[in-house]
C-alpha cells in the first residue's frame, strides 16, 4: 500500500524535513557564492599575513651557524671570493642574537658587511647588511632564496637597486675555529 503523501501524520514529518533541506541547500549555495566573490579579498589577507617578516630564520639556529666559502658570484668585479660567518653574538642584557660577518673580496676592493635583523617571510630568509659596525647604516639586504644541504643561495640586494647573486657552501659548523 502506497503511502499517501500529504497525510496528516506523514505530512507533518515531511513538512519539517523539506524546509530543513531547503535551508541547507540555500545556505550552501550562498556560502559558495560568498566565497567566490570574497576570494580575492581573502587571498590578499592571506598574502599580507604570509609576507610579513617574522624574527629569526626558520628552524634551529644551529642549522645556519658556521663558516661558509663563496662558490659563485654573478658580479666578479665586485665579488670573486668571499667568506660568510654566521654566529650567535653576545649582546649585553639580551639573549644572543643571530649575526653574521660577510667578507666580500673583488678584483680591487675588499668589503665587509655586518649582518643583523635576521628575519624570515615564508621560506625566504633575510638579513640586513650594515656597514662599519652592527648598528651602522644599512646598505642592503642578504636574501637567502634557498638553503639546502649546507648550500646557501642568496641575493645581495643593494639599496641602489643593484643585485648580486651569491652562493655559499658551509665548510664548518663552528663559527669560532
Amino acid at each position: 500500500m502506497a503511502v499517501q503523501r500529504g497525510s496528516a501524520d506523514h505530512g507533518g514529518s515531511a513538512s519539517r524535513r523539506y524546509p530543513l533541506v531547503l535551508a541547507l541547500i540555500s545556505g550552501t549555495a550562498l556560502a559558495i557564492v560568498g566565497i567566490v566573490f570574497a576570494a580575492p579579498a581573502l587571498a590578499s589577507i592571506a598574502a599580507i599575513t604570509l609576507d610579513m617578516p617574522a624574527p629569526g630564520w626558520l628552524g634551529l639556529k644551529d642549522r645556519y651557524l658556521g663558516r661558509y666559502h663563496l662558490t659563485y658570484s654573478s658580479d666578479h668585479s665586485l665579488v670573486n671570493q668571499g667568506e660568510l660567518v654566521v654566529f650567535s653574538r653576545a649582546v649585553p642584557r639580551q639573549r644572543p642574537v643571530l649575526s653574521g660577518v660577510l667578507n666580500l673580496y673583488g678584483s680591487d676592493e675588499s668589503n665587509v658587511f655586518y649582518m643583523t635583523h635576521f628575519v624570515h617571510a615564508g621560506i625566504k630568509l633575510m638579513a640586513a647588511l650594515n656597514l662599519g659596525v652592527y648598528t651602522g647604516p644599512v646598505v642592503g639586504s642578504f636574501d637567502v632564496m634557498c638553503y639546502c644541504y649546507n648550500t646557501m643561495k642568496a641575493v645581495f640586494n643593494v639599496q641602489d637597486g643593484s643585485k648580486v647573486s651569491l652562493r655559499f657552501q658551509r665548510y664548518s659548523a663552528n663559527p669560532h675555529p
Binding site: A90, P96, N103, Y114, G132, V133, P137
Partner: protein, 551 residues
C-alpha cells in the same frame, strides 16, 4: 811619490763619498729634525709628509707657509676621492712621499693616489677575515690608521694580525708575517712605525683580555727580531688566571733620534672595570714605556693611571719637544690619554715635569654593580687622537672628548668584549669636545675651546701659525695657533676620524684629510659617516659637503 795636487783632488772625491757612507749607515743622523732656525718662510718646491706624524718627533708640524692667516679663507677643493662604494669610517692618517699619497681604508686596502690629480696609481685589496676575532663578538671595529713607507716598501697591518710589505711602486705584496693570533682576540688597527731596518707593531684587544706587546720585525724579511710583553702572562705577577691581561699598544711607536729610545703608550689592564682580582698598580698598563729600539729592553716606564678601572689608555702617540722649565731646556715628551689628562715627561728619565692638566670634564668613581656615571667615559678623554706641537708657540694642541658613560659591573656572557667585566652606555646628554693649546714650558693652557662635538681625529700645525682640525659634524677648522680664534671653517659633511696633513708639489701647497668618521663616530652615532679623501688648495673649487653613507 805622487804629486801633492793629485792628493788634493782626490780629497774632493773621497770626502763626499765617505760622508754618504756614514749617513747611510746611520739613518738616525740623516733624518734628524731640522733646528728651528731653518724654518724660513719661503716657498718650498716640494714638501712631503713621509711619516705618521710628519717627522720623527711626531709633531705634525708643517713648515709650509703658503696657506696663512691672511689667505686661509681662499682654501678650496683641489680634488677628492671616495674610497669605495661600501667603505665607511676612516681613521687613516695619510702620508705623502714624492707625488704619491698613501691611505688605507677600514677594510685594510692600501690606495696610492697621485697627489696632484687624485688619480689612483695602484690599489691593494687584501683578503682579510674580519670574522676571525668573532671571539670578540665580531663587534666590528675594523679601522686602519695607515701605513709606513720606507726603502721602497709600504707596510700595513691587517685586522686579522698580518704585517704585510708591499712594493711602493706597484702595491704588489712582497711578504707577510703573522703578528698575533686572532683567535685569542687580538686584532689590529694601527699604522706601524719603521726605523733602522725594523718595523714596530703592537696590537689591540685589551677589552678581550689579550696580553699586550710591542714587537720589532726585520723590515726586509718580516722575521721577528724581538717582542716585549707589557704585562705578565695570565696567572703570573698581577695578572689573574684566565684570559686576562691588557696593556696593548695600538698606536705607532715614536722613535726618539735624540736619545735613541722608542716610546709606546699602553692601554688598560683587564678585566677592565673589575680590579679585585688584579691587585696593585698593574704596572706598565696605561703607561708610557721607553725601550731600546734594537733590543726591546725597557729603559724606563711612567704609569699615567695606576690600577685603572675606567679604560683610561695612554692611547695617543707620544710627541717629542724641548720644554723650557725653570730656566733649563729639557728634552721632553707629551701624551694625552683617555684619562683626559695631558702628561709631559722628561724624555730621558720618564719623570713628570709638572702636574698633568685636565682637558675634559673629570668625575669618576670606582665602578659598582649599580650604574654609575664616569667622566670621561670609556671612549672619552683623548682617544687615539694625535697631538700636534708647534715650536713657534711652544704649544701642544690636544683633541678632547667630553663623553661620559654609565658603567655597571656585570658578568658578561662569552664573546664580545668579554673581559670588560661590565656594561657601558653613553649618557643621554649630547657629547661635546674640547680643543686646547697647552704651553709645554708651563703646563698651562695657552687657550681652551669647547667644541660642539667630540674631537677625535687630531690636528696639524703649520709654520704660518695655523692649526687645522675637524669635528664629528664634518666641520674643518683653522685656528690661530697663538690665540685660538677660528679663522676659517668649512663643512666637509663627514666626521673627522683623522687629522689633516700638508704637502707641497711644484711650489703649491695642499692640505689633505681623510674624512668619514671614527669607529666611535659610527658606534655612538656622533655624526655623519662615509669615506672620502679630500685635498684642498688656495683658489680651489668651492667646498661642498660630502654625502654620508646611508643617505
Amino acid at each position: 811619490m805622487g804629486s801633492p795636487r793629485r792628493y788634493w783632488y782626490s780629497s774632493w772625491i773621497i770626502a763626499p763619498l765617505l760622508t754618504t757612507l756614514v749617513l747611510g749607515a746611520f739613518p738616525s743622523i740623516a733624518t734628524k729634525p731640522r733646528p728651528l732656525g731653518s724654518l724660513v718662510a719661503r716657498p718650498v718646491a716640494q714638501s712631503d709628509w713621509p711619516l705618521f706624524g710628519r717627522d720623527r718627533d711626531n709633531t705634525r708640524f708643517s713648515p709650509l707657509t703658503d696657506v696663512n692667516l691672511g689667505n686661509v679663507r681662499r682654501l678650496g677643493e683641489a680634488w677628492h676621492a671616495k674610497l669605495g662604494r661600501f667603505q665607511v669610517l676612516l681613521e687613516t692618517f695619510p702620508q705623502i712621499i714624492g707625488r704619491v699619497i698613501y691611505v688605507t681604508t677600514s677594510t685594510d686596502e692600501v690606495i696610492a693616489f697621485d697627489a696632484i690629480s687624485g688619480k689612483i696609481m695602484w690599489r691593494y685589496a687584501p683578503h682579510v677575515d674580519f670574522s676571525l676575532s668573532t671571539g670578540v663578538g665580531g663587534y666590528g671595529v675594523s679601522v686602519n690608521r695607515g701605513v709606513a713607507v720606507s726603502n721602497g716598501k709600504v707596510y700595513v697591518v691587517t685586522f686579522d694580525n698580518h704585517l704585510q710589505a708591499l712594493s711602493q711602486s706597484t702595491g704588489e705584496k712582497l711578504w707577510q708575517t703573522s703578528v698575533a693570533d686572532p683567535h685569542q682576540g687580538y686584532y689590529e688597527t694601527m699604522a706601524p712605525t719603521v726605523w733602522g731596518g725594523l718595523v714596530f707593531v703592537g696590537s689591540a684587544g685589551s677589552e678581550v683580555g689579550v696580553r699586550g706587546f710591542v714587537a720589532a720585525y726585520d723590515a726586509a724579511t718580516g722575521k721577528l727580531v724581538w717582542r716585549f710583553y707589557t704585562v705578565p702572562a695570565p696567572g703570573h705577577g698581577w695578572v689573574p688566571k684566565g684570559h686576562h691581561g691588557g696593556g696593548t699598544v695600538y698606536m705607532p711607536p715614536t722613535v726618539d733620534l735624540h736619545n735613541g729610545l722608542l716610546y709606546v703608550g699602553t692601554s688598560n689592564p683587564s678585566p677592565v672595570l673589575l680590579g679585585t682580582g688584579r691587585q696593585g698598580p698593574n704596572p706598565y698598563t696605561d703607561s708610557i714605556l721607553a725601550l731600546r729600539p734594537r733590543t726591546g729592553k725597557l729603559v724606563w716606564a711612567y704609569q699615567e693611571v695606576a690600577h685603572d678601572l675606567w679604560n683610561y689608555d695612554a692611547g695617543s702617540p707620544v710627541v717629542i719637544f724641548d720644554a723650557h722649565v725653570k730656566g733649563k731646556t729639557i728634552h721632553a715628551l707629551g701624551e694625552a690619554g683617555k684619562s683626559g689628562y695631558f702628561f709631559v715627561l722628561n724624555a730621558n728619565t720618564g719623570k713628570l715635569l709638572y702636574r698633568p692638566l685636565a682637558f675634559v670634564k673629570e668625575n669618576h668613581t670606582t665602578p659598582t654593580t649599580k650604574p654609575t656615571l664616569q667622566c670621561p667615559g670609556t671612549l672619552g678623554g683623548s682617544l687615539y687622537s694625535p697631538v700636534s706641537y708647534s715650536p713657534l708657540t711652544h704649544a701642544a694642541y690636544i683633541s678632547g672628548v667630553n663623553l661620559c658613560f654609565i658603567v655597571k659591573l656585570e658578568k658578561l656572557p662569552p664573546g664580545g668584549e668579554s673581559d670588560f667585566a661590565g656594561t657601558r652606555t653613553p649618557e643621554k646628554k649630547t657629547p661635546t669636545g674640547t680643543f686646547s693649546a697647552v704651553n709645554v714650558n708651563t703646563g698651562k693652557f695657552l687657550w681652551f675651546k669647547t667644541m660642539p662635538t667630540p674631537m677625535i681625529g687630531g690636528s696639524m700645525t703649520t709654520a704660518s701659525n695655523l692649526v687645522f682640525t675637524g669635528d664629528q659634524h664634518g666641520t674643518m677648522y683653522a685656528f690661530d695657533a697663538r690665540k685660538g680664534q677660528i679663522v676659517w671653517h668649512a663643512s666637509l659633511g663627514l666626521g673627522f676620524g683623522s687629522a689633516p696633513i700638508a704637502y707641497a708639489i711644484n711650489g703649491r701647497e695642499y692640505i689633505a684629510v681623510a674624512v668619514g668618521g671614527s669607529a666611535s663616530t659610527g658606534a655612538n652615532h656622533l655624526g655623519p659617516i662615509g669615506a672620502t679623501l679630500v685635498v684642498l688648495t688656495l683658489g680651489g673649487k668651492p667646498i661642498k659637503p660630502f654625502r654620508p653613507i646611508g643617505q
